[in-house]
């Protein structure tokens, strides 16, 4: 049955879709206008959903067309969905405001390629992400994943250079490989249990060979899309080559889409299936991602590539929550401190990384390059930008009171509580390494210039301010510990009860 506030989920889903259809028909400068009008509407709906969830303390559900599962499809929002919906809406709005200067249709023409494509693709990324967070059906999530891929790939190569075409094609090949593996798992699960509804599956799934095969295929497919080590090679050229606003969206949001479905799969569909070995394996891959990618990031000469490798390392942290959420007593993954910590890491990384790519874009615009060794003096020329970069870095390193700090603190708590001390070492070493690559950039930026610094283009204040606001958000996110953090766990124990049956 739909809950009274359930229609909000339909509005959340359709708002960006309606926006992109109108933007496509009107075209030209109107595409930007429609996109910018859609953004506050979507943000308001997302916040309303979070408030409604907070008040009702139970999942919002909407049965589409009145056809109940297993025949029909439901939309369902729990605490994880609501938190991610709000995060994505905030980052999309900020990116939209930030991108105006870069993707403005020139006066001379009625419509230009890059702006038209960017605004529509941005709305499609948003629509796809919302579907990922709200979808209660595994095949429906597949369609959402494909929408996300088709919107994200062209964003990589909006500048039309051969290198970015190549990066985009590599990305597409990886993503298509991933979605077919996911789809294989969907076929097997339907064959074995006769439903694709997440809640219904959760009640009937058993740890048996067909579930293991399906789970393994879907997991590998989603890992390829999330760029977890060792399936990560496509990400750095794609994220570093895209225009700054596109990089912000790709790195902050798009990789979280497939990650979110993985969380749904492991925590909600089959918490008892992977077992301790599976959870430890995912954690080990995450640890490898943290250590390897941080070291590679340290050795980068280009700022955007450094940030892209930092994304790979930060994705690694997301996977530490799987072994930490594993309860040896019941033999399954439980929604607890580790899940909260992991999701908080996803949220604070989203805001921090978007801010960081924006600052990198601003420095590139001002200097005409992003070579780290030649950043000297940029802190004096663009103090607000470098300050924003530093704040975002604070959250990535995990210094208090940032969201990154709270996330890592929760993960550490879970590790110590569960006696899994080896993850403590990984988290601490990872923090040191990220401090290393952030300070490498900052040290250059505040240092004296090797040659007299000339700014190629003025940097508008409001663009610096947008990056700063996002970075501040990421730092202040640690304060959610005072209350709002409980949002993440709303409607979670209910699902857990279903699983224990």
């Amino acid at each position: 049955m739909s809950t009274p506030d359930g229609f909000l989920l339909v509005l959340m889903l359709t708002a960006p879709v309606v926006g992109l259809l109108i933007a496509f028909v009107l075209g030209g400068r109107n595409a930007e206008r429609v996109a910018l009008l859609t953004m506050p509407v979507g943000l308001i709906i997302a916040v309303t959903i979070a408030v409604a969830l907070w008040r009702s303390d139970a999942a919002l559900v909407y049965v589409l067309g009145g056809w109940a599962p297993p025949l029909g499809i439901v939309l369902r929002a729990d605490g994880l969905s609501a938190a991610m919906l709000v995060t994505v809406a905030v980052v999309i709005c900020a990116t939209g405001l930030f991108a105006r200067a870069e993707f403005r249709t020139p006066e001379a023409v009625p419509e230009a390629r890059a702006p038209f494509s960017f605004w529509i693709l941005l709305l499609s990324v948003w629509a796809a992400m919302n579907m990922v967070f709200l979808g209660g059906d595994l095949f429906n999530l597949y369609v959402a994943l494909e929408l996300l891929t088709f919107a994200a790939v062209p964003l990589v190569c909006l500048d039309g250079r051969a290198e970015t075409f190549r990066a985009a094609l590599r990305y597409l090949v990886f993503a298509l490989f991933g979605s077919l593996l996911y789809l294989l798992g969907v076929a097997l699960l339907y064959g074995a249990y006769g439903t694709l509804d997440i809640a219904m599956l959760a009640a009937v799934v058993r740890p048996e060979p067909v579930t293991w095969v399906a789970g393994a295929l879907m997991t590998v497919g989603l890992l390829a899309k999330t760029a977890l080590f060792p399936l990560h090679l496509w990400l750095p050229p794609a994220h570093a080559g895209a225009p700054a606003p596109a990089s912000a969206v790709l790195s902050a949001l798009v990789v979280k889409g497939s990650f979110f479905i993985l969380v749904r799969l492991w925590f909600d569909v089959m918490p008892a299936v992977p077992g301790e070995a599976g959870a430890q394996l995912l954690g080990a891959l995450g640890a490898a991602a943290i250590l390897v990618s941080s070291v590679v990031a340290l050795r980068q000469a280009r700022l955007k590539l450094l940030i892209a490798y930092s994304t790979l390392a930060q994705i690694g942290y997301l996977f530490l929550m799987f072994p930490l959420a594993f309860d040896t007593g019941s033999g399954q993954l439980v929604s607890g401190v580790a899940l909260t910590g992991g999701m908080l890491q996803a949220i604070s990384h989203a805001t921090a990384k978007a801010a960081m790519f924006m600052t990198a874009g601003l420095m590139y615009q001002a200097l005409g390059h992003d070579r780290i060794a030649e950043l000297g003096g940029v802190a004096r020329a663009l103090p607000m930008t470098v300050f924003a970069f530093g704040l975002a870095g604070v959250s990535l390193i995990g210094l208090p009171p940032s969201g990154g700090f709270l996330a890592k603190w929760l993960l550490l708590t879970a590790a110590v509580g569960g006696g899994q001390w080896w993850w403590v070492a990984v988290i601490l070493i990872g923090g040191l390494l990220s401090a290393g690559y952030i300070f490498k950039v900052l040290a250059q930026a505040v240092g004296a210039p090797n040659v007299a610094l000339t700014l190629r283009a003025p940097v508008p204040r409001h663009r610096e301010a947008i990056a700063l606001v996002l970075a501040l958000l990421s730092v202040l996110l640690g304060l959610v510990a005072l209350g709002p953090i409980d949002l993440l766990q709303i409607a979670r124990p209910g699902l857990a009860l279903v699983h224990s049956q």
């Binding site: 359709t14 009145g66 025949l71 230009a112 294989l184 097997l188 064959g191």
Partner: protein, 315 residues
């Protein structure tokens, strides 16, 4: 072994043989030809699996359109094949890949063999609810009613992939006409076909789409046939692709999802839920959506085949 099973085993062997040929033949062009045969043989498999709707879609889209698309690409990329040979991975990598592929195939085979008996099925549920949709073809009922959200979202997916294709154009050609200009002898055989066939093909496409409510068919195979007629006319130079900036073209491209959304929202008031149909008008509303969808599918598929704008609109 019964006669039909022997026939099916032969069919399976054909599919497998053609698949191996697709992978192993040296020339990409030949590989694409093999792939088209693969698609047609799979179509027969779908018939044997009593999935006629899928068979029609596989023949039209999986084999037909995809085949034409890849043939064109293979012809344009012929010069790059020699370089790729030099990049072939070593024996170790190939062996590892083969082992991995074999492992996956084995695991899948085992999983398929041990699916539970009796099988789970939604067929009775789908049939029981079908009268409320006004449809008599259960697959159309699933696509247009029970899982309408998938179909609606997939319309958006196809539109976004077209926008993605357009976004790859060169800046100076934005707003121009998609694809290369086709020169064909106006009195030649192709032009003859391109003038005579489309009227028949368009009628056939509409017929198949209309039939979908009660029998195998539907908007996808129907729309694909119409798209094919359009492509034929474009290839023969009988008509030209419209510039992508045309307002009417954009309206046609959003007609399907827009009508779908509009009917979906009207469901809030008339049937109590988004994407719900009042029983008395269910068939009429679904037909309205399908008309929009056929139009949009035909235009979108045709333009996806034509590619990004490659010629300026200005003469």
């Amino acid at each position: 072994m019964s006669w039909t099973l022997a026939l099916e085993a032969g069919l399976a062997a054909l599919v497998l043989g053609v698949a191996v040929w697709t992978l192993s033949v040296r020339q990409t062009f030949a590989a694409v030809v093999a792939f088209v045969v693969y698609g047609l043989a799979l179509t027969l498999v779908w018939v044997r699996l009593s999935a006629l709707d899928v068979a029609l879609t596989e023949a039209a889209i999986g084999s037909g359109l995809t085949g034409v698309l890849l043939l064109g690409a293979a012809a344009r990329l012929r010069a790059t094949e020699a370089d790729a040979v030099a990049e072939r991975p070593g024996a170790g990598v190939r062996a590892a890949a083969a082992a991995l592929a074999a492992l996956v195939a084995l695991a899948l085979a085992a999983a398929v063999l041990y699916l539970p008996e009796p099988a789970h099925t939604l067929a009775p549920a789908a049939m029981a609810e079908l009268p409320a949709t006004g449809m008599r073809n259960a697959v159309t009922g699933v696509l247009m009613a029970y899982r309408a959200a998938d179909t609606l979202l997939e319309k958006v997916v196809v539109l976004i992939s077209l926008i993605g294709v357009w976004s790859l154009a060169q800046d100076k050609l934005w707003g121009g006409r998609p694809g290369l200009l086709h020169h064909a002898d106006p009195d030649g055989a192709l032009a003859f076909l391109a003038r005579r066939l489309p009227p028949v093909g368009i009628v056939a496409g509409i017929y198949i789409a209309w039939l979908g409510a009660d029998q195998p068919g539907g908007a996808f195979p129907g729309g694909t046939i119409i798209a094919a007629m359009w492509l034929l006319a474009m290839m023969a130079g009988v008509t030209d692709a419209p510039p992508i900036s045309r307002r009417w073209l954009r309206l046609v491209l959003v007609a399907g999802p827009a009508v779908f959304l509009a009917v979906g929202f009207s469901g809030f008031f008339t049937a109590g839920a988004f994407l719900a149909y009042p029983v008395a008008y269910a068939k009429a509303l679904i037909v309205v959506i399908e008309v929009g969808m056929v139009l949009t599918i035909a235009a979108t598929l045709g333009l996806l085949m034509a590619g990004p704008p490659e010629r300026s609109d200005k003469p």
